[in-house]
């Protein structure tokens, strides 16, 4: 078989652990449910969309009647709930996402990029084996044993490409817009910040206002925003830059969530990063010293927050003469404690991931050669 044929077979026949896809299903179906709930609330508050001005992308005759729309809204919410609970989850995910896409086609005025992105990602997730873990309807046996979780995950690659396309589309749009490129758009937004901040009882110091209302700062911020998006879109594909791209993306979305109204967009994109996490589980090790209160607390925290099942947990052997409170062994076999150990924990635990870069930098700057890390591979 030719090299191309082998690569083709490998790409489309790839089988990986599907545990993280289950977690991703939980996140996306929750967002889908809230998206459906919003439509239901809008229906009861504002009425049937076709009773007033609307702009269908589909032919007018394809639009549902009032009662049909009501029925489909209920069906969408129900399907999202089934996907969340793990009852016919993939079919439910497909139903909810297709109905959502149909609703977007019914009225262009309801179109928002974040809603469209959510529906596309949910659609693609339905084609992955996301029904092998976190099936809440099964109670404590919610996750299948490891050997049954391994399944073809080619659609995960499509999901990843879609995430990249979202960032690329956004980058291209900004690059084509001279006002965005030049910082004029951000300049206008930043100029409002002092007044908005003051109305919330947080008046900004004069020097910050001077920076925020300066053209050079807006120009720089625009270039940084475009550069960040481009780096996230491309950097997530390279193993060497992926972690940094995901970290930058997380900070980027937290800052957007705090400064702009983007509905579910930030949550969606941060959740979608799960598709870029190495699917195999328990490839790292966390060991802690029994009897040390802080170490035991950390161990409990790691056990609770290790949603991606990155770590094998266990106490340090009693024969160990080490005095360290804990050790973290990463996938490369690098065993570390102290700041570097915490950085290795943070890089693998979603909730602590924002701390990864500061901790890693601190560890790098403060470490003497060989002081914290000792290869155990």
């Amino acid at each position: 078989m030719s090299a191309f044929g082998q690569a083709f077979r490998r790409f489309f026949g790839e089988e990986r652990d599907a545990l993280l896809l289950g977690l991703l299903r939980l996140a996306l179906s929750t967002l889908l449910f809230f998206n459906g709930l919003r439509l239901v609330l809008e229906f009861y508050r504002d009425g049937y969309f076709a009773d007033y001005f609307h702009m269908p992308l589909l032919p007018e005759t394809w639009l549902p009647s009032r009662s049909g729309y009501q029925l489909l809204l209920g069906l969408q919410a129900l399907a999202a709930l089934c996907a969340l609970l793990g009852f016919c989850s993939r079919e439910a995910l497909l139903t909810a996402s297709c109905l959502g896409l149909y609703f977007l086609g019914c009225d262009r005025l309801q179109y928002h990029n974040n809603r469209y992105a959510l529906l596309l990602l949910a659609f693609l997730l339905a084609f992955t084996p996301c029904d092998r873990a976190f099936l809440l309807v099964r109670g404590r046996r919610h996750t299948l044993p490891r050997e049954q979780r391994s399944a073809p995950t080619f659609a995960r690659r499509l999901f990843q490409i879609q995430v990249s396309l979202i960032y690329l589309g956004s980058t291209i749009g900004k690059l084509l817009d001279a006002d965005w490129r030049g910082g004029q758009v951000l300049f206008m937004r930043f100029a409002k910040t002092p007044a908005v901040s003051a109305t919330h009882g947080l008046p900004l110091p004069a020097w910050i206002i001077e920076i925020l209302t300066s053209a050079w700062f807006a120009n720089l911020a625009a270039k940084a925003a475009i550069g960040s998006e481009l780096f996230i879109a491309l950097g997530i594909w390279l193993p060497r830059t992926r972690r940094l791209a995901l970290w930058l993306g997380l900070i980027f979305h937290v800052s957007i969530e705090l400064s702009a109204n983007v509905e579910l967009f930030s949550w969606l994109m941060v959740a979608s990063y799960l598709a870029f996490v190495v699917p195999e589980v328990r490839e790292r090790r966390f060991e802690f010293a029994r009897g040390k209160r802080r170490a035991e607390l950390l161990a409990r925290l790691v056990a609770v927050c290790d949603w991606c099942a990155r770590f094998e947990h266990g106490p340090l052997s009693s024969a160990s003469t080490d005095t360290a409170a804990f050790y973290v062994t990463n996938r490369a076999g690098q065993r570390a404690t102290g700041a570097l150990g915490l950085a290795q924990l943070a890089e693998a635990i979603p909730l602590f991931f924002p701390l990864w870069l500061p901790l890693a930098l601190y560890a790098k700057l403060s470490a003497r050669p060989g002081a914290q890390a000792a290869s155990s591979a």
Partner: protein, 160 residues
């Protein structure tokens, strides 16, 4: 092992993959040429604003006159002499288009909102009953693109 209809057979995976990507790329490229960038993943709003003022073109005593529509509401009599009230906001619920006489944020940019406004005018005129005196609905729109000087656009929907 869970069985699902969505487990694509190896033969179907590559066509599905390619078809999905082609559709997405096509939509993404097409979006750059549509005024409201629909399907284009334009995630962040521009900082433009617009102010819409509505006018009606009516024929009275044989003369065509342009009369302002205050707060989006006007009254007129039908052929039978019954008075009817017409309200822009009853038909156009979109928050960017139904705010009249004041500057509002142009979500997805000015082109997007002007494009939608044009459709809204046509839609409103289409809904007017036979015999109502309005010959055309006009929107005089002041625009401020990303904080620049105010410009002016006039949109008109004629009665067919």
């Amino acid at each position: 092992m869970p069985r699902s209809l969505l487990n694509l057979s190896p033969r179907l995976r590559a066509p599905f993959f390619c078809a999905y990507l082609l559709v997405q790329l096509g939509l993404l490229l097409r979006a750059q040429r549509t005024p409201d960038l629909v399907f284009g993943f334009q995630m962040f709003n521009a900082s433009s604003q617009l102010k819409i003022s509505l006018f009606r073109k009516v024929r009275r005593h044989g003369r065509v006159r342009v009369v302002p529509v205050r707060d989006g509401v006007w009254e007129s009599k039908d052929r039978a002499g019954t008075r009817h009230t017409y309200r822009w906001q009853d038909r156009v619920r979109d928050g960017h288009l139904n705010n009249l006489e004041q500057f509002v944020h142009a979500s997805y940019g000015l082109d997007a909102q002007l494009y939608r406004l044009e459709f809204a005018l046509r839609d409103f005129v289409r809904q007017l009953p036979e015999g109502e005196e309005t010959e055309a609905l006009i929107a005089e729109v002041d625009t401020r693109k990303n904080g620049r000087e105010t410009a002016h656009v006039r949109l008109q929907a004629d009665r067919q």
